[in-house]
Symmetry: C2
Subunit: 250 residues, 2 copies
C-alpha cells in the first residue's frame, strides 16, 4: 500500500493497450469505498472509452495527447442530481442548490478520484490528473451531457504507461507540515524550503528554456498567469451558478 | 493496497494510545506524494496533538467526542500563502488571489488527505473525516492561526480504533458510474439504485428513531437542512473572500 503511494508518478505517455473490464471495475469499486459526506455519495464518475467522445474531451483538455492515447478517461463530477431526484421521489424537499453543497460534493468526488488513482496504480496502470477540468467545465459538461447539479471537478486519464519518469521532487515535508498551529513563514524559512527545488538541474534547464530569471516567474508569467486565473475563476463560478449551486435565498 | 481501500471504515471511537512519531511521519510522507497541480504543493497540513488546542478544535467540530479521543488531528488547508511568499521573494508577481486558485489548492489538499487516510489505515490506524471543517472554517482558522490565503478544507482525526464497525453500505457501483456520457436517471433508475439501501434493517431503525416517513427525509429535515446549508454557504464564501481568494479584477 505505502509502496504504491510512494511510487506515484503522473504518466503522460500511454501504450495502445486497452484495460480489461475486470480490472477497470475493480478500480471503480475502489473509488466508491472512499469516505463520503453522510454516506450521500454525491458524485458521479463518467467512464469514457469511445474514440469520438475522447477526441472531444481532448479538445476540452487543451489538446493534451495523453487524453487521446490513454484508453480510458474518468471524469469525476460533484453530483447532487441523483440525490435530489431520490429526495423528490421520497416526499423529501432537498436543500442542496447552494455553494456548501457543491463544495461538499467536490470533496466526495476528489476522495473517490484518489482511491481510483491508487487502485489503478496497484494494477500496474498509470494515471494523470487533468487540471484543465475546471477551466473547461462548461465544454466538458456539454460533451458529457451533464445535467443540472452536476459539475466536473477533476479528470483522470488511465492506461498502461509508455514512459518511466523519475519521482517528481517535493518540498521537504517540514515545509508543508505545521506542528500544533500554523507557523507562518519567515523569509529565511522560504529560502530553506525552496532551496533544494531551486538547485535541481531540471530547474536550471526550465529557467533557461523559459528565459526567466527565477523558477517562480515560470509559474506567475508562463504557466499559471493572473489573467487566465481570473478568467477561469469567473467562468467556473458562473458555470457553478448555471448548474444551480448558488441559490442562497431562504 | 486494494485490501486497505476496500476495508475502509470511518472510526469514531479511539483508544487512549498515542501514535509513534515514526509512523506519523510516514503518514505525512505519504500525504505529500499525492498529485499536486503543477507541483506547486499549494496546501498545508496542521498536526495537532496538544490537549488544549485539541479541545478548542473539538468545540469547532460540534463537540464530537472523537476529536478529543483521537491522539492526532490533521487539518488540511488550501494554502497559497507559502507559494505567494516564495514568488514575492523571487521577483515574481503572484496572481493567485482568486476563486480558481482557491479551488485548485482545495484539490491539492484533498488528494493529500486521502493519501494520509490510506497510509494511516495501512499502519492499523483509524481515521474519520470531519465535514464540520467548512462549516466552522473561521473558528478553526482562529484556533490554528491560519494567515491570509490559507483555508481549512477538511480534517482527519487519527488514532487506534476502539470499535470495529461493519462496512458502510454503498449504492451499487452502476448507480454512480456512467458509460461514455452521463445518462440521466429515470424514476425507475432511482428506485432501483436506492432499493437495497432503503431495505436495510439499519435504515428501518433510523427512520423509526427519527420519526420520519422516508430515509430521504432524514437527510433533508434532520441532517443536512436547507437553512443550515444556506447559512454555511454564506459564511464559507465570506470566509474565502476574507482570506483573499475572491479578487477578480484585472
Amino acid at each position: 500500500m505505502l509502496e504504491t503511494i510512494l511510487n506515484h508518478r503522473s504518466i503522460r505517455k500511454y501504450k495502445n493497450t486497452s484495460i480489461n473490464d475486470n480490472i477497470l471495475n475493480k478500480v471503480l469499486d475502489a473509488a466508491v469505498r472512499a469516505s463520503t459526506t453522510g454516506n450521500m455519495q454525491v458524485y458521479s464518475i463518467v467512464v469514457t472509452k469511445d474514440t469520438e467522445i475522447k477526441n472531444k474531451l481532448w479538445e476540452c483538455h487543451f489538446k493534451q495527447d495523453m487524453v487521446k492515447q490513454a484508453p480510458v478517461v474518468l471524469t469525476f463530477c460533484a453530483d447532487f442530481n441523483r440525490f435530489n431526484k431520490w429526495c423528490e421521489q421520497r416526499k423529501a424537499v432537498p436543500g442542496y442548490d447552494n455553494f456548501l453543497s457543491f463544495y461538499t460534493a467536490s470533496i466526495d468526488a476528489l476522495l473517490a478520484a484518489q482511491n481510483a488513482t491508487l487502485a489503478a496504480e496497484d494494477f500496474g496502470l498509470g494515471v494523470c490528473y487533468l487540471g484543465t477540468t475546471t477551466y473547461m467545465a462548461e465544454k466538458i459538461s456539454e460533451t458529457l451531457d451533464l445535467p443540472a447539479h452536476v459539475v466536473p471537478v477533476t479528470t483522470l486519464v488511465v492506461g498502461y504507461p509508455n514512459e518511466k519518469p523519475g519521482l517528481t521532487d517535493r518540498l521537504p515535508v517540514e515545509g508543508v507540515v505545521h506542528a500544533e498551529k500554523y507557523k507562518d513563514y519567515s523569509q529565511q524559512d522560504i529560502d530553506n524550503i525552496y532551496k533544494e527545488k531551486e538547485s535541481l538541474e531540471f530547474t536550471q534547464e526550465l529557467i533557461k528554456e523559459n528565459n526567466t530569471e527565477t523558477l517562480a516567474q515560470i509559474f506567475t508569467d508562463k504557466r499559471y498567469i493572473k489573467k487566465d486565473n481570473i478568467a477561469f475563476s469567473k467562468s467556473f463560478l458562473e458555470f457553478i451558478q448555471n448548474k444551480g449551486f448558488m441559490n442562497h435565498e431562504d
